[in-house]
């Protein structure tokens, strides 16, 4: 049985740009899929196709058991969308925004009013409820936007880069809100450029690049694909880089990468903490002074690099589109 969000071969072109080049997704009910990729990879276009905002050129999409292309309006009743930019009316108060959205979800006036109050309290906006949204801080606007997406407690949620542009404290707060939401059984598709965010929130991660899903799996599975642990050393003196590199070569299971300006050397290893102790002894024995040393599990940044051959950075020429 297909999951709460299912897509098969989604293709969408804008002029001669192939924004989606056959995206396949399957998100089981009650789980979180993190759609991870750089700007311009096709994350937003995927979300727009699944939320009825864009019609794909070809492919199939089913959300909450409803065919997106055939019954878009039924799909709209079952989803909540929180976008990259807070989609609230800045001249309306928080309360007015939520009531309006409730009414447009076809709620009765009284129910919309009660639900708005509930959400304002839940999202810590009760004190600001009757101020126009333009007086809100960035974090408050995002919370209001998320609250608007939750007015009918939809079974399926889409969040397009929910924390982009937020400071770390607000990001943490929003993560907590999202975790709570998911623990209530909501199926969530979340796009992000923050590898840490996908690691933190998603059960499964799909890595997208150039309009295709290039890898999928749990965070651990993806990390395993990059070849496990690494030892990272920062030497104190630039002159010691060559000597340290030689030491690491003896322990490593692959090539040593050297960043000259930060005096940082990295090498893939197996053997864990025991091996680390040996490396330290050996470096010490040769009189190489070190500023930092550690055993690092691979980050999703490494995953992305090993999968795509480039780091997950912005591609401004595509992001502008």
């Amino acid at each position: 049985m297909p999951g709460a969000i299912y897509a098969e071969g989604l293709v969408k072109t804008f002029g001669d740009v192939r924004a989606l080049d056959g995206v396949d997704l399957d998100v089981p009910e009650g789980t979180v899929l993190g759609l991870l990729g750089p700007n311009g990879a096709g994350k937003t276009t995927t979300v727009r196709c699944l939320t009825t905002l864009l019609r794909p050129d070809s492919g199939k999409a089913v959300v909450a058991g409803i065919d997106v292309l055939r019954h878009p309006n039924e799909v709209r009743r079952s989803i909540g969308l929180s976008g990259q930019f807070a989609a609230v009316d800045e001249y309306l108060t928080g309360r007015e925004n939520l009531q309006m959205v409730g009414r447009l979800y076809q709620m009765r006036a009284r129910a919309a009013k009660a639900r708005a109050q509930e959400l304002l309290e839940q999202f810590n906006l009760a004190d600001a409820a009757d101020r126009p949204a333009k007086t809100y801080s960035g974090g408050m606007r995002r919370r209001l936007d998320l609250a608007a997406a939750l007015v009918v407690s939809p079974p399926v949620m889409f969040m397009d880069e929910p924390t982009t542009g937020l400071d770390p404290r607000n990001r943490q707060q929003l993560w907590e809100v999202i975790k709570q939401l998911v623990s209530g059984g909501t199926t969530l598709l979340l796009t992000t450029q923050y590898l840490e965010e996908a690691d933190h929130l998603a059960h499964e991660i799909a890595v997208v690049d150039h309009g295709r899903v290039i890898a999928r799996g749990t965070s651990d599975q993806l990390k395993a694909r990059t070849g496990g642990e690494r030892v990272e050393v920062v030497v104190h003196d630039r002159e010691d880089i060559a000597a340290a590199s030689e030491v690491l070569r003896g322990f490593g299971k692959g090539d040593t990468t050297v960043e000259q300006h930060t005096r940082r050397l990295t090498v893939p290893v197996t053997g864990g903490a025991k091996l680390l102790a040996e490396v330290i002894r050996e470096l010490d024995g040769r009189g190489i002074e070190i500023d930092d040393i550690g055993l690092r599990r691979p980050t999703l940044d490494d995953v992305f690099l090993s999968l795509t051959g480039h780091v997950a950075e912005e591609k401004p020429e595509e992001a502008a589109k």
Binding site: T52, L53, L81, Q84, F85, V88, Y105, R108
Partner: protein, 285 residues
């Protein structure tokens, strides 16, 4: 919250017409709240027509010939129907700018992802503009009375006819806001919507009977003016207000201005509403 309580919160699927109406009213309310929080927009919207009333009355008043009369009082009484008609059509620009602005903000994605009637975003905006137009007309009518405009200055009229004239003006204004809606859907920026919403209005409102007696125009221009939808409403208002300077032309719209005004407005409304809503649906994919 369980799915069962959600089902109770959401009203049963209504008849599409009722849903469309209800959604339009929700969006209209949103736009009216916005307008009340940006009062300078309403004030700027009032300054221009008031300036026209004052300038035309006092600058042109003594030198215009209306129906063979050069009396400033006759021109004043002639002028107001034209100014009223011009004012209601200028709502086109603000409507277009508002819709263009909405289309380029994140909020439109929210609207499109909601199970609401597809035309409601546009209908709600045009209804809010209609309310603003009505308010503007009231203020303008008071200013007109203050500078000496009087209904019944050229025959008999009654309250019903005067209200009827204002009804025709509002209908014309409402029809024109749909032209604005289409412009707003077609341009990239609100600024472009404002300027492209206004530019064509000048020839449309000036090549008409709004400010001058068309009988002095070159014949080809006069024909355009007499068949101009805008002239039909101005003429209808003069007839209903019993104000001087009514066109004596044989052209059908000048002979049957009330009908002509109704038909023109209904046609404009129908055509441009269809085009604008279709464009919205397309954009919504």
């Amino acid at each position: 919250m369980s799915a069962v309580t959600d089902a109770l919160r959401v009203a049963p699927t209504a008849n599409p017409v009722i849903q469309s109406f209800r959604d339009s009213m929700v969006v209209a309310k949103r736009n009216l709240i916005r307008m009340s929080r940006i009062p300078e927009m309403i004030i700027y919207g009032l300054i221009q027509p008031i300036m026209f009333v004052v300038l035309f009355t006092y600058v042109f008043g003594g030198s215009m010939q209306i129906g063979g009369s050069t009396s400033a009082t006759d021109y004043k009484n002639f002028l107001m129907a034209g100014i009223f008609a011009q004012t209601v059509t200028f709502a086109t620009a603000s409507s277009g700018a508002g819709i263009a602005d909405d289309m380029h903000k994140g909020l439109i994605d929210r609207f499109r992802s909601l199970p609401m009637a597809r035309g409601a975003v546009l209908t709600g905006r045009t209804l809010a503009d209609l309310v603003q137009t009505a308010l503007t007309l009231v203020v303008l009518a008071v200013v007109a009375l203050l500078v000496g405009w009087r209904v019944g200055s050229n025959g008999d009229t009654n309250v019903g006819k005067v209200l009827g004239a204002f009804g025709l003006l509002l209908l014309l204004g409402y029809a024109f806001t749909w032209i604005g809606a289409l412009i707003g859907m077609s341009v990239r920026t609100p600024e472009a919507a404002t300027s492209s919403g206004l530019i064509w209005l000048f020839p449309v409102t000036f090549i008409s009977n709004a400010f001058v007696d068309t009988s002095h125009m070159t014949p080809w221009l006069r024909h355009i003016a007499e068949w101009n939808p805008f002239s039909a409403t101005a003429q209808a208002c003069r007839v209903l207000f019993a104000n001087p300077g009514q066109s004596q032309s044989d052209a059908w719209p000048m002979q049957h201005p009330v009908w002509a005004s109704l038909i023109y407005s209904a046609l404009i409304l129908l055509i441009f509403r269809t085009l604008a809503v279709r464009k919205y649906r397309r954009a919504a994919g």
